[in-house]
């Protein structure tokens, strides 16, 4: 038990280091796309440690407690995440729903803390974040429903294994769901962009509009902890995607490559986009992605048409 928990903590730490480095590399890539030199690849680390070294302000106990709850919830979620087929802390309990709902603890903590700061812009940001969540989760969940129904497992590593090797008795096994469910993949990719708060859907951050939304009152260590939380959240969401659609990973290098590709493509796409209004986000997700998700689910579950 203790070893498993230590293992989980190291998974969370690995996720933090990995995502922070890849985010730095991505900043460099985006810089090059914009014909700039770009920052150092370890710039994100510098930013986070700088924030942790500053002296911040606090608005009362709920302001701090929310931040602790947010970071704690996200670390706990990351501890369940499998990295490769056999590199995980709690084999058998990496249930998909744990990730979806345990991540919400972190979100709730952050929302609570932001509202507790007494700044109206923070509350507006929280409102927008929750509304965006209502928009992107449902198409994503429908696609995941399809996957769980097809594989018969809700455990991430089992789903990944299912995609890696073709077993004789199992239908559809052996192909990545990225290829098996192409429409679903596209929908889930859009949802992933919403989850990561990337650009057409970054309505709840909107620095020029509501002064970075929920984070408006944070500075110093609270903001640093929220940055760590954000990096781990991105790690969870992207690796969720890797395991669900890209067939997981046999070893750590494959995981790194897949992870890098998914995150970089999300980033590149988001960088050529503007920003939606909040009601546009909802209408967008409930129009085509939801329709296509339902179509894909129907076709795959009832008709059995899977590539």
């Amino acid at each position: 038990m203790i070893i498993s928990i230590l293992m989980g903590i190291s998974v969370a730490f690995f996720g933090f280091v990995l995502q922070t480095s890849i985010a730095g590399v991505n900043r460099k890539i985006i810089g090059r796309v914009q014909k700039r030199y770009g920052p150092k690849w370890y710039q994100e680390f510098l930013d986070i440690f700088k924030l942790l070294s500053k002296r911040s302000v606090t608005h009362g106990w709920i302001f701090d407690f929310g931040v602790i709850m947010a970071l704690g919830g996200i670390i706990a979620t990351a501890m369940f995440m499998p990295i490769t087929n056999d590199l995980m802390a709690f084999p058998g309990f990496d249930n998909f729903f744990i990730f979806v709902y345990l991540i919400a603890v972190g979100m709730l903590g952050m929302a609570m803390s932001a509202s507790g700061s007494g700044n109206p812009l923070a509350s507006i940001g929280v409102m927008r974040a929750l509304t965006t969540m209502l928009a992107y989760e449902i198409p994503f969940m429908i696609i995941v429903l399809t996957i769980i129904k097809l594989t018969g497992h809700s455990s991430l590593s089992e789903i990944a294994m299912f995609q890696q090797t073709a077993v004789a008795g199992l239908e559809f096994s052996g192909t990545w769901f990225m290829i098996a469910l192409p429409v679903g993949f596209a929908v889930a990719f859009l949802s992933l962009m919403g989850m990561l708060g990337k650009k057409p859907f970054e309505t709840y951050i909107a620095p020029a509009e509501i002064a970075s939304g929920p984070m408006v009152e944070y500075g110093g260590k609270q903001l640093g902890m929220l940055f760590i939380m954000h990096e781990i959240t991105v790690f969870i969401e992207v690796s969720l995607f890797v395991h669900l659609f890209l067939g997981g990973a046999e070893n750590i290098w494959i995981f790194l490559i897949k992870y890098f590709l998914v995150y970089t493509s999300v980033n590149l796409i988001s960088n050529v986009n503007g920003r939606f209004k909040i009601d546009q986000v909802v209408v967008f997700f409930y129009k085509w992605p939801l329709l296509f998700a339902v179509m894909q689910a129907f076709v795959a579950i009832y008709l059995g048409w899977v590539i």
Binding site: L71, G72, A111
Partner: protein
């Protein structure tokens, strides 16, 4: 051995006694409800769990109770008496505000007696009698609050439900030959079965406040006094779930089986209605301004989950439904009690008028926080386990449309439960409440803390309770859920709730260590916030609580009155039809009467032999 009859008589006599004592002293009369309901809860729980409840009848006429092995009734009975007991702690504090305080105590205990009767009887007529007892007593509890009209809405829908229940009873009596519940439900068949199914479902929907019979629920829950609201949400609504279990699980599945999803048509239609209940409740809850109404709509939405889960009829779903009944009773009662405490201290539950209660009422805040975490289905609280079970079965059946609704309800619940949290407790501390507000008195906090503890316990160690629910499943003829001491196994994966709680604890400890080793923060005032450099001196200007979800409300606000307009339209059509009939049949114009006489005579002359 404790006799059920004895408990019912205790409740009734206690009610009368509370009335008499309440005439002398309001508070003592109300405190009597705590003692009586506490006694009843303890005896039901102790003897019920031992399986040694006595069903024999000596004094009460016509009444008969089930033999001891009734797990379903016992589990519901323990839950609802527990809710009554917990809420009764609030009675002494609220009884001053009522117009008829002694009557309040009496009716409170009478409805407890009714609830006991409903859950433990084996006779349909007795069930109907106690059902009506609950309806009539609770009917008089509602108008003690803000609105008398809410009571009439409640009465209208309840009467509709009661009559359809009565009709179903008569139909079953016709086939089974006796009023015995199990005989009636198992022997009825053919077209009678469809009729009984529909009638029972109407009764269940009316009591549970499910779409399309939901209109009374927010009105009653929003307007009745706070303890009554809590009792309704945690206790009395569960009568509907009880009737739904009868109709959906005990009765054989109704209608032709749909091949693709392997489900009977009747069940599927109920599942669709349940899904609509979830979506409708969620959307309406998002746009409420009154915190009580908001939680009321959330109760409606959770009722939808129970219905959806009961229709699926497999081990995970039925156990999920029964567990959800428990979880929702605990969570929504805790939430209503927390809001009730705020209401008592401030005098309002409008979210646009309140703010910053956390600084004065931190315990109430924590209670509410735990309650909403459970309600939104976030681990490590109980709501996660029940929602996990329900999702497992929904996904396993592959029902896409139902799944959309359940996912929507679950994500939407984050939205609406967060709203009172932000508006009542967080945000700026408004000056008009700053001085007068104190934390609620200890005996109000006690039930809230107990409920919170149970909310956590149900999420960390659900096996104990699910073990008991497995007995209920066996009794209902459903396969039992796979449980070990710590893990649950669903259709496509296992869950280890305690592990999640431990890991969450580890995460929080790590975060806390990071927080504590870093430099200490400088404390600033709540008003010292980023305002783009402007000087703001008024708290209201920095408190965002009016029209919180305006952007998303705007997308559907034109369509919110659909059901109300539908009922109004029906009422109008009935009225028109009535005047039409009146014009032709009950007119005072002689020529029309003559015409009818001629037509009737003509028909008799021509086809009289056939009639």
């Amino acid at each position: 051995m404790a006799s059920l009859e004895f408990l019912v008589i205790i409740a009734l006599l206690g009610g009368v006694l509370a009335y008499l004592v309440g005439k002398l002293s309001k508070v003592v009369g109300a405190s009597l409800t705590v003692l009586v309901s506490g006694f009843i809860f303890v005896s039901v729980a102790y003897f019920g769990l031992n399986g040694s409840l006595d069903a024999s009848i000596t004094y009460l006429p016509f009444v008969s109770f089930e033999a001891t092995d009734l797990y379903l009734g016992t589990s519901f009975g323990i839950l609802v008496t527990f809710i009554f007991f917990m809420v009764s702690f609030f009675n002494p504090y609220f009884v001053d505000k009522f117009k008829y305080p002694s009557l309040y105590s009496m009716f409170y205990l009478f409805s407890l007696a009714g609830v006991l009767g409903v859950f433990f009887t084996d006779d349909f007529l007795v069930l109907f009698f106690f059902f009506e007892l609950v309806v009539w007593t609770s009917l008089f509890l509602i108008p003690l609050g803000k609105s008398k009209k809410a009571a009439s809405w409640y009465y209208g829908f309840s009467a509709f439900g009661s009559f359809s229940l009565l009709f179903a009873i008569f139909v079953m009596r016709n086939t089974a030959g006796s009023f015995n519940i199990n005989d009636g439900l198992s022997m009825v068949g053919g077209s009678d079965q469809i009729l009984v199914f529909i009638l029972l479902m109407v009764a269940a929907f009316a009591k549970l406040g499910a779409f399309p019979l939901h209109i009374w629920l927010p009105k009653v829950l929003g307007n009745s006094p706070d303890p009554v609201t809590s009792v309704f949400s945690g206790g009395l609504e569960k009568l509907g779930a009880f009737v739904a279990v009868m109709g959906l699980v005990k009765l054989a599945p109704v209608g032709p089986v749909i091949e693709a999803i392997d489900m009977a048509l009747g069940q599927y239609l109920i599942a669709i209605l349940g899904a609509l209940t979830i979506v409708f409740g969620t959307l309406m809850a998002i746009r409420q301004d009154d915190a009580k109404k908001l939680i009321a709509y959330s109760s409606m939405s959770n009722g939808g989950y129970i219905l959806v889960a009961l229709t699926l009829l497999n081990d995970t779903s039925v156990s999920g439904a029964l567990y959800h009944v428990l979880i929702h009773a605990l969570a929504s009662t805790a939430a209503f009690l927390a809001i009730g405490a705020v209401n008592r201290q401030t005098g309002t539950t409008k979210m646009s008028e309140l703010g910053g209660m956390i600084h004065k009422m931190p315990v109430t805040y924590i209670v509410y926080l735990i309650a909403i975490i459970s309600m939104a289905g976030i681990p490590p609280m109980g709501g996660f386990v029940s929602k996990w079970l329900i999702f497992q079965s929904v996904i396993n059946e592959g029902m896409i449309l139902i799944a959309i609704a359940t996912f929507f309800g679950s994500i939407g619940s984050f939205l609406y439960v967060f709203r009172p949290l932000a508006a009542l407790f967080l945000g700026q501390e408004l000056p008009e409440f700053r001085k007068v507000i104190k934390e609620a008195p200890f005996f109000m906090l006690l039930p809230m803390i107990i409920l919170s503890g149970l909310n956590i316990f149900t999420g960390v160690h659900p096996s104990v309770i699910l073990q008991y629910i497995n007995n209920v499943l066996a009794e209902l003829g459903v396969t039992e859920l796979g449980i070990t001491t710590w893990t649950l196994s669903g259709n496509n994966g296992d869950l280890y709730p305690a592990l999640i709680a431990v890991v969450f604890g580890v995460g929080v400890v790590i975060a806390f260590i990071i927080f504590i080793v870093l430099k200490k923060s400088r404390k600033v005032d709540l008003m010292d916030t980023y305002t783009a450099g402007n000087f703001v001196y008024t708290e209201e200007l920095l408190h965002y609580s009016v029209d919180f979800y305006a952007p998303i409300e705007r997308l559907y606000e034109k369509h919110i009155n659909i059901m109300k307009d539908f009922y109004k339209g029906i009422a109008k059509k009935v009225q028109e039809f009535g005047s039409f009939v009146k014009y032709f049949f009950f007119t005072n114009k002689p020529e029309i009467t003559v015409l009818w006489v001629v037509i009737v005579l003509g028909i008799l002359l021509l086809w009289g032999d056939l009639l």
